[in-house]
């Protein structure tokens, strides 16, 4: 699975979502909220495809090499169903909660449904970490370490600012953004560290 193929998959999903939004708007008289959701999904995947184009060539080549190896292939094979399941559970969870769920335990269960595929992805990532060679493992763990320290620092600073009433922050949103921030900073750190060894 090459980066170029990933990009085209993203474009296909984006076009599918935008086509659904258009059909919903002009043919099926869907509510604005539903049309907006599919438009947002399409725009998001187009943005993702655009990010692939911004990747430097050496990084794309490096990713292609990594994912061509047995450990990389196993990781991608485990990742795809987890990502699909995450999208479906996220959609189902948000939609169900918006419809209203009276029972608190049931609402809690439905709210954390998307966590299960994320746990599956983390298991796949841990297995990948154990299967790669020593230099790759050094790069991965150093990148994860840098991301953890930076995110901890940012959240500590954010917490202090929040307590001093300099900023106001929704606690739920703040907690949800921990994982995406970790992933983003890990990705940047991994690029820099990989370049160091080339």
């Amino acid at each position: 699975m090459t980066m170029r193929r990933f990009m085209w998959i993203f474009v296909a999903i984006a076009l599918g979502a935008l086509a659904l939004a258009a059909a919903g708007r002009f043919l099926l008289a869907w509510p604005d909220g539903v049309v907006g959701m599919w438009t947002g999904i399409g725009a998001g995947y187009l943005l993702g495809a655009g990010l692939f184009l911004l990747m430097p060539r050496w990084w794309r080549q490096h990713c292609d090499d990594m994912y061509a190896q047995p450990a990389g292939r196993r990781y991608i094979r485990a990742l795809w169903p987890a990502l699909v399941l995450y999208s479906l559970t996220l959609f189902a969870s948000i939609w169900s909660i918006r419809q209203g769920i009276e029972s608190l335990p049931l609402r809690g269960l439905v709210a954390v449904l998307p966590v299960l595929p994320i746990a599956w992805m983390m298991h796949a990532a841990l297995r990948y970490l154990r299967e790669i060679d020593e230099l790759q493992r050094r790069i991965e763990t150093e990148a994860i370490g840098i991301a953890s320290l930076l995110v901890a620092l940012v959240y500590f600073a954010g917490g202090m600012l929040e307590k001093a009433e300099v900023i106001g922050m929704d606690a739920g949103i703040a907690m949800i953004w921990v994982f995406p921030l970790l992933c983003g900073i890990y990705g940047i750190a991994k690029m820099i560290l990989t370049r160091r060894y080339q």
Binding site: M66, I132, L135
Partner: protein, 64 residues
């Protein structure tokens, strides 16, 4: 640490990818080893030495 990996690999007519496959590491690791940007662990150094049929000391030369 300096090493003679590139010289020995080229003498065998192997590409970096082929050497990586024989050592069960990534091509990135082979490149980093050859350019001296990464020093291998002891087990990997022994595997490299065994593959080329040379003692470790003739393969890896510490910078003094």
């Amino acid at each position: 640490m300096n090493n003679r990996m590139r010289e020995l690999r080229e003498a065998q007519g192997w590409s970096q990818g082929e050497l990586a496959e024989r050592l069960e590491v990534s091509r990135q690791t082979v490149n980093a080893l050859e350019t001296g940007k990464y020093d291998p662990s002891l087990p990997l150094a022994f595997r490299i030495a065994r593959l080329f049929g040379e003692p470790i000391e003739s393969l890896f030369i510490p910078e003094d």
